[in-house]
Symmetry: C2
Subunit: 436 residues, 2 copies
């Protein structure tokens, strides 16, 4: 097909939404440009395992260019988006101007701190691979430093870990961190006893895992507590400082590691009219996943504010996958002269794991807990992980962990994400912590 007959489609973001949009545009009369600041797709559901030193970061990353190889008329551009001009129908990024006939904004979400003082500056995020690596390095550095720290107060703060947010990310990471600390790190650091280390999970709501029912929430609570994690329900964080956290009501806790999983908002979209962006940073879409008033601009994934049954859809992978697919199909319908169809999310289920051999699943409204749910969790995650080699490598790591209780990636690497031999690096800038 001659190029002049091809419509230009630009996709911003190579996450679940962007990739599934790309897949579903394949073979259509389109030339696709997918833009992302990273040259790889990240399988975010397993990100917490990178931070807990269980798997290598590379095993949940897949080069975007490899994904493109099967597609004609598709290309990837590694860049940050500087501005979208909705009127002029072009995107400025990486010094280029990408003119589009159709645009899919799938740039995902970022940590949201609700204006809590110090949360942005002093807590660790867990939203990107870079952040997971930084957090893993930091946790291990805290142990290294604590093992030769003489001041008991400093030692205690180094070995106190606070996770803010009792949703799936917080619960999954808390469980994995407890296993890391009680297993391999206990053997690595014989001078640090179990009682020296404290892991706390702070949730403002009345139960954990609000997306599941009360029974499951109680199950998660019992499991975490059995792993030695202190769970504080109905507790709001008022402030995060260099030295720890302060809860509403005045309680403070000293900690050098405060991990924020309590809130996400849509990623900033430069050039998006402010009127379209709601309080959660999400852009409101019409029923067909288009930006209201811009028929050629679609949104998919976490950035999308889409209401179904009177509630906005959650920021999860399954929503992103279905929306990305639907947005692409609607574009092809429009190009073919047809009308785009309304989107409806089909909830195939939700899962969360709580350490080894234990998970909660909800499928078709029925929730189950325990070992069988955990096996299902493993299988689903392996199935959706991209890359045959990655599937094999992750499974090997899981087997090693399960049978040998080993989390093998206990490496402070690379060093530019850490400051060895000095005060534990406390700079939380997303790109590059201070290093000396």
């Amino acid at each position: 097909m001659e190029r002049k007959q091809l419509k230009e489609v630009v996709i911003i973001g190579a996450g679940f939404a962007g990739l599934w949009a790309l897949k579903n545009l394949s073979g259509g009369p389109v030339r696709v440009t997918i833009v992302d600041r990273n040259n790889y797709h990240t399988f975010l559901p397993l990100l917490y395992q990178v931070a807990a030193a269980e798997i290598e970061p590379e095993q949940i990353a897949y080069p975007v260019r490899t994904l493109l190889r099967g597609f004609r008329n598709a290309r990837y551009l590694r860049a940050e988006v500087e501005r979208i001009d909705f009127q002029g129908k072009f995107v400025e990024c990486g010094g280029q101007k990408l003119v589009y006939d159709y645009l899919i904004v799938a740039c995902g979400s970022v940590s949201h701190h609700y204006g809590i003082k110090g949360a942005g500056a002093h807590s660790f995020g867990l939203k990107t691979l870079d952040e997971a690596i930084i957090l893993r390095n930091h946790i291990l550095s805290c142990f290294e430093r604590a093992s030769c720290e003489v001041d008991p107060e400093t030692r205690k703060a180094l070995l106190s870990f606070v996770i803010i947010g009792g949703g799936p990310t917080g619960v999954e990471f808390a469980g994995a961190l407890a296993e890391l600390v009680r297993g391999p790190l206990r053997k690595d650091f014989p001078s640090i006893s179990r009682e020296d280390v404290s892991i706390s999970l702070v949730e403002s709501g009345k139960r954990l895992l609000g997306v599941f029912n009360e029974k499951s929430g109680a199950y998660a609570l019992a499991r975490l507590e059995s792993m030695g994690i202190k769970v504080l329900l109905g507790s709001s964080v008022a402030e995060v400082t260099h030295g720890g956290i302060g809860l509403a009501g005045g309680i403070t806790a000293a900690s050098r590691t405060v991990v924020w999983t309590a809130g996400v908002s849509g990623a900033p979209v430069p050039g998006a009219p402010a009127a379209l962006v709601n309080g959660a940073g999400r852009i409101e879409s019409d029923e067909c996943l288009r930006v209201k008033g811009a028929d050629s601009v679609y949104i998919a994934g976490d950035i999308t504010h889409f209401v179904q049954e009177e509630r906005p859809l959650p920021m999860v992978a399954t929503v992103a996958i279905q929306q990305g697919r639907h947005a692409a199909k609607n574009i092809l319908r429009q190009i073919g002269g047809g009308r785009p169809l309304p989107f409806r999310f089909r909830d195939k289920g939700t899962m969360a794991t709580i350490g080894r051999s234990s998970a909660i699943t909800r499928i078709r409204g029925i929730e189950s807990r325990g070992f069988v749910a955990w096996v299902l969790w493993l299988a689903v995650h392996i199935m959706y992980l991209i890359g045959f080699r990655n599937k094999i490598l992750v499974m090997i790591n899981w087997v090693y962990d399960y049978f040998f209780f080993e989390k093998s990636v206990r490496l402070i690497l690379p060093r530019c994400c850490d400051s060895p031999g000095q005060a534990v690096c406390l700079n939380r800038e997303r790109r590059c912590p201070e290093c000396r």
Copy 2:
């Protein structure tokens, strides 16, 4: 055994020499402290594969603390050595003062630039995992940038790669880089043709792989040239700049990637008397591997200047392993009231690989080349790689590469080791390149 009867042994460096010293001190009447700036041991012979995106960095790293688990009376300290006081018999590091009865200095080697102007500032090293990650990210970034670069001169410089040094490291990396560029990257970047990319290997001597014989040197030359690599023999580098290199005689070449493998010197040992350190940065030892005039200080590995058959032993893993073992045994002899024994290196062989299915080995003075040598190379490297899990993972990557011609770790990760979307990061500082 009561602690007061134990002798304090400090080992500086957790490389081959330091680890084999540790192993051989096990069970002795000693308390060992091993100090390293990284919390892992690096299997350096496979470092070039990290830089060529073939294996994950973590697969050639092994946590030191895991190695220590089997040892009584051994501990690890993560720190930089600030000063060794040979008179007072203590080591200052990480804010601590480690008093020793015996010291083993095994701090390895660093890139040595022979005073060549700009080589330190403008070339990439390949001596540590951090450097290998930075180099890998940089190579991939050059391709990303070149794929949308309009200026032909800039594009050419981005796609020109110069490796300085025709020894095993330079040859192995050149071969792996050529495979990366001609294989996976050709599929990833269809707009970049084979002719656009240039890889050059510059060697000041008359042949490659001076450690092998002439026939092997010629074999290596033929193999590399068949892979499209330009080999310049008898060529000395006069200068390295931001934009490329200048050879003695006036020839210049534009390149944004100059990799230095042409020289190494002993790592700096703070506090070592200048009279003991030779021009190659190595410390001269007596026949028993002790520092001359300091009966309780041993040196092992790359840092050691040990003459055998009128030549200093090379800086290779096999020498480091034997010296580390011997130094430890000599310490145990001294503790037991005996005399240390002279060291003699037993050359078990040398190997170098040149891309897939091809290697050169020298065993008991007999050199062989080709596929069988390559299989032997694979087997020996897997055997010496530490960690059963690492062996499995590396083998999987090798199988994947061999059968699918894929180098799977084509990820620019983490981003703090690269500056995306902007001018390709050119800062060569070992720790943390500039990032914006």
